[in-house]
Point group: C2
């Protein structure tokens, strides 16, 4: 089974490594990072530099596609080769998935029109612009497309996917191997549950115009 | 504020990227990956290849040290330079931390003797061999040393640390930015809560000799 993960400049690191750390523990799996050209691709902070060995031309099918997000995913117009590759690979997948704003790349590739999907809470309008109906869930499955909410949600998505690809006990064993027994120190990891103080800081960080979905 | 993360062959990717994705969102932070030499360092599956720009000689102090784990952390005898660097950096830190079997590197550096600590559930005896008292908690703080349990626990540890370094609202805002509102699809992410089926698979994977801590 091959899992392919496209990598592009200004990806968000955990969007890739969360699902990777789950899926790489599947039996008989090959995980491949793929980019426009081989060499170093740098994350959204300029600090994590992934060396990628395969190009879009090298990988012409995958059983599972995991599309990460990050600021780079919002400039899809600059990456026509990747969008064409996503469309092509999607035709061969059993599951096509995204994490965070990776859903915007699925949208830009025309894969979400008329479907329900989720994304990072800051990208709801952009997602809707591709014809998707936003659902504020952590993991949304419609047909063979699974979209996950922001950044860390890729771990939950990948465990769900692991069970679909194998069986529940195998997915549980992976969850145990990575000791995924989360104990966040605070409440408020979602917009719906966040404190006013945290929302104010995030609003300042994301800049003018962003309001939590559902707030008018 | 400088956060330093040593990287060594056969690290576990999420041990690094989990805490990284939290701590890089702190205000005025510099996160630096450090290795014995510059260039590519490859993870425990041979798939994630990090390009590292700084050597142990280049980094002589840090406010926060995050030591990741992975199979490579169990061959500490092969990495005397890194152990010496950990000892040296620890002298200047406000917080010295580990994820997963990174605790074995803290132990090998002589930093855990007589302290309580945690680690990946498969490494309890190795941790105890360094004079530490194992506590089966997800995050254990004693003095300025914070150890975390396996792999994914580094996210919880880093959020706790983020609050210690700033304030709770700032940590909550980071938790919201990465949408850390975990919803594992299954129970059983810890040895204490795992199903018999998952434990059997993990036991087979880890090989003879491993039994869950507390089981005789």
């Amino acid at each position: 089974m091959r899992v392919a993960i496209p990598v592009f400049p200004r990806f968000t690191s955990l969007d890739i490594i969360g699902p990777y750390q789950v899926l790489v523990n599947l039996p008989d799996v090959e995980v491949v990072l793929v980019a426009e050209s081989t060499g170093i691709v740098t994350d959204d902070r300029g600090l994590i530099k992934l060396s990628v060995d395969a190009t879009f031309d090298d990988v012409d099918h995958a059983d599972v596609l995991v599309v990460p997000g990050g600021p780079g995913s919002r400039v899809h117009g600059d990456m026509p080769e990747m969008l064409a590759w996503i469309q092509h690979i999607h035709a061969s997948t059993t599951w096509t998935t995204s994490v965070c704003t990776g859903s915007l790349l699925l949208g830009a590739a025309g894969l979400l029109d008329g479907l329900t999907a989720t994304t990072h809470f800051s990208a709801v309008r952009e997602l809707q612009a591709w014809g998707a109906t936003y659902v504020p869930d952590r993991v949304v499955t419609q047909g063979k497309i699974i979209t996950a909410a922001g950044v860390s949600s890729g771990i939950d998505m990948a465990l769900t996917l692991a069970a679909l690809l194998t069986d529940q006990v195998t997915a549980e064993a992976i969850q145990l191997l990575i000791e995924y027994d989360p104990q966040p120190p605070f409440a408020g990891g979602s917009v719906a549950s966040a404190s006013e103080g945290a929302l104010a800081k995030v609003r300042a960080r994301l800049g003018s115009g962003w309001e939590p979905y559902g707030v008018t």
